[in-house]
Symmetry: C2
Subunit: 237 residues, 2 copies
């Protein structure tokens, strides 16, 4: 299921020999933590998308969210394979991340279909931005796994069209969704900081990727800018 030949790519440390000296080695313990938090992120996103789809006004909308949810599970399978290639049980590894991700979702429960769409789009986007920020520092085999699970799902066109159309027609919807977008970002940062405070090895990976602690602050700043760009594409500016 969507895992294709990824286990060949991700479970063979020998291919790191061709890396151009990444700062984060294949066997950095933070790598498994990264895979684990991504894995639980996929599961929790799956169930949120499936639940939020109840607000869809049309069958097309329900199908769009179901397809996004299915893509999350395909990515989850890739992560399970990558973790088991490292001799790690995915359930044990995910456990420390359940609380933070569940709290993110509980604190950003959409109350309308438009909020659901914006949340799906913003959540995918933040995860992809984070990857782009650290990708160049990862061992190529690790980067390949992360790239595969954070690949664009191809459903953003549907979301952008639906949201941009409604926002153009209603300044009230627009004002509400701008606040909503700000809240999504705020809660994501809150939970990310909580996770980094708890998980030393993951934190070490992010600091190493960013250069130093100032680099981590700069990384969060750039993610905020990219979030603002994304909101603009939705007409939320």
């Amino acid at each position: 299921m969507g895992a294709h030949s990824s286990d060949a790519v991700t479970s063979d440390p020998s291919i790191t020999g061709v890396a151009d000296d990444p700062r984060i080695a294949y066997d950095h313990p933070g790598v498994s933590e990264l895979f684990a938090v991504l894995a639980y992120g996929e599961i929790s996103a799956f169930y949120r998308l499936a639940e939020d789809a109840r607000m869809a006004p049309t069958l097309q909308g329900r199908v769009a969210l179901a397809s996004m949810a299915a893509a999350e599970m395909n990515h989850f399978e890739t992560l399970v394979q990558a973790l088991s290639g490292r001799g790690i049980d995915v359930y044990t590894a995910m456990d420390p991340y359940v609380r933070a991700l569940d709290e993110y979702h509980a604190s950003t429960n959409p109350s309308t279909w438009l909020e659901t769409l914006v949340k799906a789009h913003v959540g995918d986007g933040l995860a992809a931005d984070f990857y782009r920020e650290i990708a160049h520092t990862l061992d190529p085999a690790v980067a390949a796994t992360v790239r595969e699970v954070l690949a664009e799902t191809g459903h953003s066109e549907f979301v952008v069209h639906e949201v941009a159309t409604r926002v153009k027609a209603s300044s009230q919807d627009k004002a509400r969704l701008m606040l909503w977008g700000r809240r999504l970002l705020g809660e994501a940062i809150t939970q990310a900081q909580y996770v980094l405070a708890q998980r030393e090895e993951l934190t070490d990976l992010v600091i190493t990727a960013s250069g130093d602690l100032n680099g981590v602050a700069a990384l969060f700043d750039r993610m905020q800018e990219q979030h603002a760009e994304r909101m603009k594409v939705l007409g939320l500016v």
Copy 2:
């Protein structure tokens, strides 16, 4: 998403030239109806599995149901491509089947985790049995699409293990689940008969595949026998 090279297989009528005279031609109007009912079956199964997963006692259980649900959506994509290769909009085509499938699910709402597992297993099984019954009469390109969407999802081991273990330990659970299995079959037959009474072209396809009306009755009989076999594997005998 899971569609691979299927559009090449399903949208090229010229390859029917190699068929060993199937009784049902590539362009039989019932074929699009068959794809449409399967397509809505995938969507409705997706949302039922995602919703019923709330009863899972463990994260492993939730993941198992999410993976089954994701597989349904991958199959849905295959059907969308097959239908669009025939110039047919999937939403219009699915519309006549929404009521029967929604009513099947509404009338078989599981109230326990074990009922959820049995329902997931029995539903997949009935669909696969139906395919096996008519497969040999279908044009090879059509058969390839149907085979792809009714392929075993590989999650039945989890279900069989969970159910068989519990049933061995509790004769009360066993008695309840035997009644439940009978109800699932009964409701499925009721809705199948409703659909066949409404949809002439699909009915013609099934009658042609079965030889005649007596053949359709025999088909339903065999599906009941296969259902009984499946219940036996779950320890429900």
